[in-house]
Symmetry: C2
Subunit: 231 residues, 2 copies
């Protein structure tokens, strides 16, 4: 399946924080919740998004008087369009690929370019799968309503100590690949202690996007979060 | 054990490439091989270094008329000194921690600051464990003689397509955590095809730093590489 690929233009605005606030206001007016998903390369962002979209659809179908959220996905990458293709093929929701032209992060204006192309006004929830990187994306406000970081079990429980800014900036933490936990030395309590040590005090969900374990709880949290904001 | 931590100063030189060439010349004169190790967060750089140092020591002890290489390790991180402590405690070789002060990469002058502090003139081989990041470190020549990237099995075999510059810039590729391969959908041949597709044609070693599998072959390659350059 062909997916649309957008070459992002470099931002010329000097004040990204101000621009991000402006974008959030616009999105509030449009009735669109924008979520920024960050992680290392290979932590399972795309698979987690697939499971999350499925989970949200299920909640919408069984909820009391709720229709499912209309979801779209923007896949940011230095290069390649493998992720946007996967989302389009497997989740059947609008998706576009954003190429950053070598840049290691997205900012608010780059988000705006993507949101315009995906037609965010007609969507309730747009995910940004940010460039795989635990350093730079944390430094730039994308204009998202909330940001999440996905850390996978094989990466180790010491990561909040090594990439503190990332864990300080996000609103929710997902620990993925818990099905692989027996093969790795990842201690959930030590991880939570490391989060606390770097000043991160947000909800933490332990999930396996591959097996579905823990996904219901995360999807319920997100569904309530989005509907609360859209009210 | 306490390890020395160096706060790196931001580089003011304009031409990093020129400075990197200069550093390589100096290192050649000093008889020191400098290797830059890059990877995502959590791919196993520190464990691989521990196994590599042990492997090189074993080769030196059994080789014909060879004494083991004198090795040192510079651990670069945004924050924390967990890696330098691990190296000092478990490998018993000189190690220092470099703090980048939020910067996502190292360049030649930052390398020089670290090499001076670790006393590289008295060492045959200095490893730099770069900041965990598949994007930015690939853009800066550190002055290293050779660069390596470690990709771990859980990250997936599509990474050369998504982070092509990294795989184009390195001189050797290590695929780590092969002991976890049964739990993940990583195809060695597809990975090699993806390397070829992005123009990466360098030696690839499949290893498990945790179990030791494949480490002998990699250590032999590196030992020969270093001794060849020091001649």
């Amino acid at each position: 399946m062909d997916v649309r690929t957008i070459q992002l233009k470099k931002t010329i605005l000097e004040n990204n924080d101000q621009d991000a606030d402006l974008l959030r206001e616009q999105l509030k007016g449009d009735g669109t919740y924008y979520m920024n998903i960050m992680s290392s390369p290979g932590s399972g962002k795309t698979t987690t998004l697939l499971g999350t979209i499925k989970g949200l659809q299920k909640l919408g179908a069984t909820g009391e008087g709720c229709s499912p959220l209309k979801v779209g996905v923007m896949e940011a990458d230095i290069d390649s369009d493998v992720d946007a293709k996967t989302i389009a093929e497997k989740a059947g929701v609008p998706s576009i690929q954003l190429h950053t032209g070598g840049m290691c992060h997205l900012d608010a204006d780059m988000s705006r370019q993507g949101l315009r192309e995906i037609g965010s006004k007609d969507l309730d929830l747009v995910f940004l799968e940010n460039v795989g990187n635990l350093v730079c994306p944390a430094e730039f406000d994308t204009g998202a309503v909330k940001s999440a970081v996905i850390l996978s079990i094989p990466e180790g429980d010491d990561k909040p100590l090594k990439y503190p800014l990332m864990f300080q900036e996000v609103d929710v933490v997902l620990v993925n690949k818990i099905d692989a936990a027996p093969a790795f030395d990842f201690d959930n309590e030590r991880f939570k202690a490391n989060l606390a040590a770097c000043g991160c005090d947000v909800p933490v969900f332990f999930i396996s996007a591959a097996t579905g374990e823990g996904m219901d709880e995360w999807c319920k949290w997100l569904d309530a979060e989005v509907r609360g904001w859209l009210k």
